[in-house]
């Protein structure tokens, strides 16, 4: 057994603005199946955090249970982590965010963890617009228990054993749009060129950001007839646009045909440059985003890329007007001002 990742790295690895190489953002060696789409997503997260030059200790990664939820062990080993109860990652993320609003909350979940056991939690975290990235590693099956159809498996999709799924799939991006999500994107684990700028934009987005990533399960759901297999997804990809993430104060260098380009300025001054491929679609119009999703479904296509964004959004902290100072940095006298303060407060309501 020699499954050990060597310590040596390329001697001329580039460094980011913090002077870190990508190595700083790596995690342990994955124990998922060889070729799992989830590993590609982990690598895209590493690359995104490296490119954004985030300080690893400013990030908290959270997950539930499942193949997907194991992945936080495989990236950002120098960040905070919380591997929670099955489907309960949103509650933990909400609690953590309330205690310390200064961290970047990076939630990782799967189709079972989100669309089945965690559905109740998911819909509430969307409607509360908690400032977090929520990545769903969506493979349409329960990989840890040998590949049964999950709630996101498409109707008519064939399993490895040959049985056909009879039920309608839960479409997480459409659901999120319906619930008022402020950032919705869909991507494919085999397309890092698209996935990385989306993750970067999601991190920069000041509210809830959902990225539903189709991530083939090579062991149980990569067979002919499956709608979440590498080949099927590649054949049915229909991108809304190409995406370039343009960091703050950097010039836009990619030139596209006039009229097809849309530039979306993000909250912190960085921007997303989209080269639109889909017609009749406006990423800042919820209705057109929902229409585009429904149309793609009718056409049997998988719409990827940025689906919807509301760059200026009101997140949970703004809505409930929390203190500007994170609670975890306050001392006891601030957090518990005493009975006199309570009396005064109660007096206001008399």
């Amino acid at each position: 057994m020699t499954y050990i990742k060597p310590k040596f790295r390329h001697p001329s690895l580039p460094k980011n603005d913090l002077g870190y190489t990508k190595t700083v953002y790596e995690g342990s060696l994955s124990t998922l199946c060889a070729g799992c789409g989830h590993d590609s997503i982990s690598a895209a997260i590493v690359q995104s955090c490296y490119e954004l030059a985030l300080e690893p200790h400013r990030i908290a990664k959270l997950s539930g249970i499942g193949c997907s939820s194991k992945t936080p062990a495989y990236f950002l080993s120098q960040s905070h982590g919380f591997n929670s109860v099955h489907g309960r990652m949103p509650s933990v993320a909400t609690g953590a965010s309330l205690a310390n609003k200064d961290l970047i909350y990076f939630g990782v979940s799967g189709d079972g963890d989100t669309a089945s056991i965690g559905m109740g939690q998911f819909v509430h975290v969307v409607r509360r617009n908690l400032n977090m990235v929520y990545v769903v590693m969506n493979n349409g099956c329960y990989g840890l228990t040998k590949g049964q159809d999950s709630a996101t498996a498409d109707e008519g999709s064939k399993s490895k054993a040959g049985s056909v799924n009879l039920f309608n799939a839960i479409d997480l991006p459409s659901l999120a749009l319906e619930l008022g999500a402020s950032f919705v994107a869909q991507s494919f684990s085999g397309d890092k060129a698209q996935l990385i700028p989306l993750i970067k934009a999601a991190i920069k987005h000041p509210g809830f950001a959902l990225i539903n990533v189709i991530s083939p399960c090579v062991t149980f759901n990569n067979n002919p007839g499956s709608t979440k297999a590498y080949d099927y997804v590649r054949e049915h990809l229909d991108a809304t646009s190409t995406v370039d993430f343009i960091p703050l104060q950097e010039e836009i260098s990619v030139a596209y045909e006039a009229g097809s380009t849309k530039n979306i300025e993000l909250h912190d001054g960085s921007s997303l440059q989209l080269n639109k491929l889909a017609t009749n679609w406006n990423p800042e119009d919820r209705m057109s985003a929902m229409t585009a999703m429904q149309q793609a479904k009718l056409d049997g296509e998988i719409l990827t890329g940025l689906i919807f964004i509301e760059p200026e959004t009101t997140d949970l902290h703004a809505m409930i007007k929390t203190s500007d100072t994170p609670l975890n940095t306050m001392d006891e006298s601030q957090l518990c001002p005493g009975s006199q303060a309570l009396e005064a407060l109660n007096e206001e309501f008399r």
Partner: protein, 595 residues
């Protein structure tokens, strides 16, 4: 760019940097793995097949493999390949039974070898098992050539030399020792089917024009002649103050030998700057370790003789100036001459070929520098029956080059004696086999250790300097040999990519510790492609492995430069599009061709 043609054996051969750099193309990783497994005899025989003198080379080789070693591009120092070879030689069991069987019925062809050095002995080794009758002529009383006369015993004990020379001579070689061949015609008149000349570069350069050279001649010696006379025990002492002129390995051998024969103030004086001396780094280190100062940038001006006796030398101090083409010029600093005291001076400033014994009417052409005109591939001279090899063929090089040339000359002689074309060289023997044993299991140790290079222990300096026959290096013991062997990256276990199995899942890209693998759109221009990889591939001496177009129209491009051969790409590949396959490559020897 076009997909890489991996069915050309030279592609994978080049990935095995050490083997590719070795003139004899010894399968280095193969024998290093055997050493790690404690199979010293097998490791020795892999070497012996390829380079004939593993014990000798394991102590004295110029090691072109080590600067080439991939490990040197990943961390500070390469694997101690040369000294591992010695571990195999030191720890092997009796190999006599493993030597080729010499046919008792000869093939009727007679070959003469002139000179008993590494080139001639290699020719003998390759031809004797094929049934050739071989006569070897040498002017000394033992074979070995410069390995015996110029390499001091404290670097190469006689016992090691005698053993390995013996393996060849015991193949029924007819030796004619103490026989100085002073006429090639006398040899050719004996109606040999072919004659091989491996007489080396026996003439040491002198400084005949330097003032005082004649008057000082009693105490001025030519380095290689002096070393030979020490080796054959004609000389056993030298003055207390010794100057050694020259900056090559012979100079290092001269100064260190002087320290052992009574020289207690030995200095090396060299024209060039220290960093540009021809001697190997490790030989310079060994000289410095024996308290021998190396004085650089001093050009000899004159020998100073008082009352008919040498008292020292004057030197002109210089500094190096480089023109736009990087060509060096030594310019005098115009300071007063530097006087250095000396009882004896050894001149080790290079050596030359000389062929006064070859008659001009034998059909042998010589070039303007007095070197025989020799084909660089076949080593045949302009007289079709006469072949050259070693320093005698293309000028002074080293033992391993002489061995490589000896192998080629032997192939040529065999082809020539069978009336076959000499230009159609036999192909190398190659093999490519998967090393997969199961999940996470390979038949080689794929983990990459982080150990730094181990230092070879040496004998106590006081003891070493007392006796020129005490070997300075003790060699690695079994444990350190194992640890050093584990540093080898197994570059011969190749990353083999099969396009039509690839599903482009990126698993290999994500896992590769050294970011060697990229999936990208192809480019016509190599430089553009090299620059758009995950980490730009700027080491142009290392090739790119480029696949045919994949379903997404991208190609897989792997930069071979710093691949650790850890096998993780193959381990993470769900479809076995990547596989680790052991590439075995050996150059052909005489007798391997189709007949």
């Amino acid at each position: 760019m076009e997909p890489t043609q991996t069915n050309d054996p030279e592609y994978y051969h080049k990935v095995v940097d050490c083997q590719y750099a070795c003139p004899a193309h010894t399968p280095v990783p193969e024998y290093i793995r055997l050493i790690a497994a404690g199979k010293y005899t097998e490791a020795y025989m892999v070497n012996w097949e390829s380079n004939v003198f593993p014990g000798i080379l394991g102590r004295t080789c110029d090691r072109p493999c080590e600067p080439a070693c991939r490990r040197g591009r990943i961390e500070e120092e390469p694997v101690a390949i040369c000294r591992l070879k010695r571990v195999a030689a030191d720890n092997k069991s009796d190999v006599t039974d493993l030597m080729p069987i010499i046919p008792s019925v000869k093939n009727g062809k007679r070959i003469a070898l002139i000179g008993g050095g590494p080139a001639s002995l290699t020719v003998a080794r390759d031809l004797a098992p094929l049934g050739y009758s071989i006569d070897l002529y040498d002017n000394q009383n033992k074979a070995g050539g410069m390995m015996r006369s110029q390499i001091p015993s404290f670097r190469l004990p006689d016992s090691v030399l005698d053993e390995e020379v013996g393996y060849v001579l015991n193949m029924g070689i007819e030796t004619h020792f103490n026989t100085y061949v002073n006429s090639l015609k006398e040899i050719t008149d004996k109606k040999y089917d072919a004659v091989f000349i491996g007489t080396g570069a026996p003439k040491g350069k002198d400084l005949s024009d330097l003032p005082g050279r004649k008057d000082a001649s009693a105490n001025v010696h030519i380095g290689i002649e002096w070393l030979a006379s020490v080796a054959f025990e004609h000389t056993n002492k030298i003055g207390k103050k010794v100057i050694v002129l020259g900056g090559g390995n012979t100079a290092m051998d001269c100064c260190r030998t002087s320290r052992r024969l009574g020289g207690d103030q030995v200095k090396v004086v060299v024209r060039s700057p220290f960093s540009e001396m021809r001697a190997s780094e490790w030989e310079k280190e060994d000289a410095l370790h024996e308290d021998i100062p190396i004085i650089d940038c001093h050009v000899p001006q004159s020998f100073v003789v008082t009352n008919g006796k040498l008292v020292g030398m004057n030197f002109d101090k210089v500094h190096a100036v480089y023109d736009d083409n990087g060509k060096r010029k030594l310019v005098s600093t115009n300071e007063a001459p530097v006087f250095i005291e000396a009882d004896d001076v050894l001149i080790a400033i290079g050596q030359e070929n000389t062929f006064p014994w070859i008659e001009k009417d034998l059909g042998l052409a010589f070039d303007e520098y007095g070197m025989p005109v020799v084909d660089k591939n076949t080593f045949q001279s302009t007289n079709e029956k006469i072949f050259f090899g070693g320093d005698a063929a293309l000028g002074p090089k080293n033992v391993i080059t002489a061995v490589a040339q000896g192998h080629q000359a032997a192939i040529s002689i065999d082809l020539f004696c069978n009336q076959q074309s000499l230009t159609e060289r036999p192909s190398p023997y190659v093999n490519l086999v998967s090393q997969k044993m199961g999940i996470h299991e390979w038949s080689y140790d794929s983990d990459v250790v982080t150990d730094n290079r181990y230092i070879v222990p040496q004998v106590n300096k006081e003891i070493a300097l007392k006796d020129r026959k005490v070997e300075v290096e003790l060699g690695f013991d079994g444990l350190h040999g194992y640890k050093e062997a584990k540093r080898c990256l197994n570059c011969d276990v190749q990353t083999v990519f099969t396009e039509n199995k690839c599903i482009e899942c990126d698993a290999c890209v994500d896992i590769c510790p050294t970011a060697c693998i990229s999936f990208t759109f192809n480019e016509d221009d190599e430089n553009t492609l090299r620059n758009k990889l995950q980490v730009p591939a700027l080491n142009l001496s290392q090739d790119l492995l480029i696949s045919a177009p994949l379903p997404t129209q991208r190609v897989m491009v792997k930069d071979e430069d710093v691949c650790l051969h850890c096998g993780l790409c193959a381990e993470r590949c769900p479809t076995s599009a990547w596989d680790m396959q052991k590439f075995f490559y050996t150059t052909s020897k005489a007798g391997n061709q189709c007949q």
